[in-house]
């Protein structure tokens, strides 16, 4: 790891001015992505601005028809939250299967969404549920937020403070984890709200998380696993690596989508 200065702001405003003041500085949330990256010298920020002591960034509340989760809320706390388990069980289930228990004790939802790893789980939930990413500057709709692998709409100095998830009528996430890393080889999040159906896919594409229009159309006609029979997504830009070819991942998308639909129907 290269040397860096360490700052511990107590408020979002202080964090923002620290980011502004120190060129090439980075926010530190759970560190479960950033620290390994810095250890490999793939990142060398001049300063780390630790969000760990910023007041009011962690917590979960139900606000009307939305579940609002603070950026510094750990994966384990989303997984075990009674509010999330009751109103958005698909999200609790997703959080419970990120990495391993130690990673879940430190990793945060804000860090995961800011990082936008093409194989991360939360981006699929945010996109399928039509979440709103709330920052220190503005509110960003999930449809505008994810802009390709490791790329988001976040601007320099922008800090995610909360994420607001509208409550669906039915939702589920089905993940095919890479047996070694536990990241998704393919993960499909399906959400139904009224007659609107959204399907988001992570792990598969070189362009990061995306909405699967053909699957959405099929499920819109009838929300049933059978509707997905023979329906597939264009996989020309899919990831091909030692873990699986683009063809394989392409097939997995439909398989995981079917499983997610069955799960959403409680089957």
């Amino acid at each position: 790891m290269y040397a860096f200065a360490y700052h511990r702001p107590g408020t979002v405003r202080q964090a923002q001015s620290a980011l502004h003041k120190h060129e090439d500085s980075k926010l530190l949330a759970g560190g479960q992505t950033l620290i390994p990256t810095m250890k490999q010298r793939l990142a060398s920020p001049s300063a780390l601005i630790d969000l760990g002591h910023v007041a009011g960034l962690a917590g979960i509340e139900k606000k009307g028809r939305n579940i609002v989760i603070g950026a510094m809320t750990r994966h384990a706390d989303v997984a075990s939250s009674a509010v999330v388990q009751e109103h958005l069980p698909a999200l609790a289930d997703l959080a419970a299967h990120i990495g391993d228990p130690a990673v879940r004790h430190r990793g945060t939802i804000g860090g995961s969404l800011a990082n936008n790893d093409p194989s991360a789980d939360y981006p699929a939930a945010a996109l399928a549920l039509g979440a709103t990413i709330i920052t220190n500057k503005r509110k960003i709709a999930a449809d505008d937020y994810f802009q390709g692998m490791f790329t988001t709409a976040l601007e320099e100095g922008e800090i995610i403070t909360k994420v607001s998830f509208p409550m669906p009528s039915k939702a589920a996430y089905a993940k095919f984890p890479n047996p070694a890393s536990r990241y998704a080889m393919v993960g499909v999040f399906v959400a139904k709200k009224g007659s609107d159906v959204r399907v988001a896919v992570t792990g598969a594409s070189n362009d990061g998380v995306f909405r699967a229009a053909p699957l959405e159309a099929a499920l819109h006609t009838k929300f049933n696993a059978k509707s997905l029979e023979g329906v597939s997504v264009d996989h020309t830009s899919f990831i091909s690596d030692i873990h699986g070819s683009a063809d394989y991942r392409g097939n997995l998308v439909t398989v995981m989508a079917k499983r997610a639909v069955l799960k959403a129907q409680g089957k």
Partner: protein, 158 residues
């Protein structure tokens, strides 16, 4: 240099450290608590698991300075008055270790698991929960047995 203070195995400690210092380095090199191991140094193996404020974390993936004000427990903090902790005793009894390199992390993960999920643990749960801990010797079978037995034994402990 930045200053950190924390409570490690019940003892207050303070030091001035380079902000780069990982929690595992601080424990092993500053405090000479070498029971916590570094297996991979890439967040995969779990040999470095300790408890920070009561929760299992990978100390190779945590900055010491981020633990300022925290309470840390390492494998050295489990035994009391010369008597092994029930989870340690269970690993010995059920041959849950061979070379022992992964064992401190396995035991700290297992104790955290019992704290969260109670004393009656089925094999599936134990295997899922040990996701982040790698053992190159045992084939896991006896580790799973040890954790189940240790979890039961912890019910009568404290």
């Amino acid at each position: 240099m930045v200053s950190v203070s924390m409570t490690v195995n019940g003892k207050a400690v303070s030091a001035k450290i380079d902000p780069r210092t990982l929690l595992v380095q601080f424990l092993r090199e500053n405090l000479l608590l070498t029971g916590t191991h570094v297996g991979c140094d890439t967040s995969q193996c779990g040999a470095c698991v300790v408890h920070v404020d009561g929760l299992a974390v990978k100390s190779c993936t945590t900055l010491a300075v981020a633990c300022d004000g925290s309470t840390v427990t390492t494998i050295e903090g489990l035994a009391h008055d010369g008597a092994l902790h029930p989870m340690q005793e269970a690993f010995r009894e059920h041959h849950g270790l061979q070379c022992g390199f992964c064992t401190p992390g396995m035991i700290m993960t297992a104790v955290d698991l019992v704290n969260r999920k109670g004393h009656t643990l089925d094999e599936h749960t134990i295997r899922e929960e040990l996701e982040g801990n790698i053992c190159r010797c045992t084939g896991y079978h006896n580790i799973v047995k040890s954790v189940a037995a240790g979890a039961q034994a912890m019910a009568g402990h404290k």
